[in-house]
């Protein structure tokens, strides 16, 4: 049971980004793909010192975890950027598969998690320490629950679209996002800043990119048939 859980976590941790980019194996319709980058000097990704929680500090003794509010990759790529269809989507069947959020090594995995309204969300504590999950929701109902060692997963769902910052009250550095979207056409950029929205019926769409610190940018795109269009977003970064 425990072993299987851990393997599952590992799987999600490694493959999470890939899963989110390609949700299904090339569905029919058009594709919008591209890359999110920045110009200017972004803030430093600072090492997080988890000395307060010896269990987690030991896990990251060799290589400290870095802050994730602005995560950059090679080629000025920006990671953890949400790209989604903000207008023009004709609607799709509600998502029913369970999304999983892990607390592992005193980090939220994934840092940015996308769900659709009422999609089941299971929250696991994989650490040998107690965690607390406090989504600072404004539109949805805010809650604040601890998950001690040995407690079962928390089953949650979000009812309305909202970008919800999530924090752990016990570990000040633990921050993540729950993004509740009505559309099923979305992607979260990986280390290379790339994204890919697939299976779009012909039509005119507004594509929006959202980064937690730099805000949003939008572009209108019209697609026909099964063409692939390329769109890119560039955020202006400041060091502080």
């Amino acid at each position: 049971m425990r072993v299987r859980d851990l393997m599952l976590v590992g799987g999600v941790g490694l493959g999470g980004t890939a899963m989110m980019i390609g949700r299904a194996a090339t569905p029919p319709g058009a594709t919008i793909s591209g890359k999110v980058t920045f110009t200017g000097t972004p803030p430093k990704m600072k090492p997080i010192d988890m000395a307060k929680e010896p269990f987690c500090a030991r896990l990251h003794a060799a290589a400290p975890v870095l802050t994730e509010n602005v995560t950059t990759g090679p080629g000025d790529a920006l990671r953890w950027v949400l790209v989604y269809v903000s207008a023009g989507d004709q609607g799709s069947a509600p998502a029913t598969e369970t999304v999983r959020l892990d607390q592992k090594g005193c980090q939220y995995i994934p840092h940015v998690l996308v769900v659709q309204p009422n999609q089941p969300l299971d929250i696991y504590n994989d650490d040998s320490t107690s965690h607390n999950i406090h989504p600072l929701a404004k539109v949805n109902a805010e809650w604040n629950k601890s998950q001690p060692i040995g407690a079962p997963p928390i089953h949650a769902k979000w009812e309305s679209p909202e970008f919800i910052p999530v924090k752990c009250n016990v570990h000040p550095w633990m921050h993540g996002w729950h993004l509740v979207l009505t559309t099923s056409h979305y992607a979260v950029t990986g280390e290379d800043g790339a994204f890919r929205l697939q299976g779009l019926p012909p039509g005119k769409y507004t594509i929006t990119a959202w980064q937690e610190q730099f805000g949003t940018q939008s572009q209108d795109v019209t697609v026909t048939g099964s063409e692939t269009k390329s769109v890119s977003f560039v955020f202006k970064a400041t060091p502080y």
């Binding site: 997080i48 010192d49 000395a51 307060k52 607390n132 924090k167 009250n169 570990h171 000040p172 921050h175």
Partner: protein, 267 residues
């Protein structure tokens, strides 16, 4: 029944006292310059109140043993001398003890909390928050940047609400979750709370002080032994109270200087 009571009270008294005397559970070794005075005060109180404790419990036990009703029509005996001599005796005895404890204790207390810090102290800014401590050193420029609560952003590790964009003195401030201090050098902390009440407690340092939101509270001490100790919060601050801790790392002066240099380079 009276004899049983006497035996039970005696056993309880003897066992309780023996554990105190044997120091089975006792204070951790003192690593502070001022702690020996507190320890002495504690020991003196322990001895004088221990004597009172044992005497009263044993008197209670003895009287319960001796003065049970044997239904023999014996007359009750009044307490020798009545209440007055005993009351006067007790008042004088306890009064003298109080007087001694107050005079000595007030001096100990004043030595810790009512003296100004040494002017050569190392200044460190401490912020307590739900549920962690963060420590700030002024950096190479020797100045602390101003704090702005509205700029506090834990996601980017800006725990103090510094404004490096506009405030250059804030750029080199060193912020760490472990209180690293040099050996035998007076340390002057300024305690500030970000959200609710907290407390700073290091048993080995024999020091404890609350953080109060809205107040800046000074606290100073000198550590006399190297090592790694725990700082814990003793003022109920919310759900993570039990897990609110930090470590204090006492280093020899040279190692401390090196540590500070390394940290400054990382900023």
């Amino acid at each position: 029944m009276g004899k049983l009571f006497a035996v039970v009270v005696t056993i309880i008294t003897v066992v309780s006292t023996a554990i105190f005397i044997a120091h089975t559970w006792w204070l951790p070794p003192d690593i502070s310059a001022h702690g020996h005075a507190i320890d002495r005060q504690l020991s003196e109180t322990m001895i004088s109140s221990g004597v009172l404790f044992v005497l009263s419990q044993l008197a209670l036990a003895l009287f319960a043993w001796r003065f049970g009703d044997r239904e023999d029509g014996r007359r009750v005996k009044p307490f020798p001398g009545g209440a007055t001599p005993m009351v006067v005796f007790a008042a004088v005895l306890v009064g003298a003890e109080i007087l001694t404890l107050t005079l000595v204790g007030a001096k100990v207390w004043a030595g810790v909390f009512q003296t100004p810090p040494d002017p050569n102290s190392l200044q460190i800014d401490v912020q307590a928050e739900q549920f962690a401590f963060y420590f700030r050193y002024p950096g190479p420029d020797g100045r602390f940047g101003a704090t702005h609560p509205e700029l506090i952003n834990e996601a980017s590790e800006n725990f103090f609400g510094l404004d490096p964009a506009r405030d250059t003195s804030a750029r080199d401030d060193i912020v760490v979750p472990t209180l690293t201090i040099p050996l035998n050098r007076p340390i002057a902390l300024t305690l500030r709370a970000k959200d609710v009440n907290h407390a700073f407690y290091v048993p080995e340092l024999r020091i404890q002080q609350d953080f109060v939101p809205g107040l800046t509270i000074p606290l100073h001490f000198t550590a006399t032994q190297t090592g790694r100790y725990e700082i814990v919060c003793t003022q109920l601050c919310g759900l993570g109270h039990y897990n609110m801790r930090a470590y204090i790392e006492v280093l020899p002066q040279a190692q401390f200087d090196q540590w500070l240099k390394d940290k400054a380079a990382q900023q």
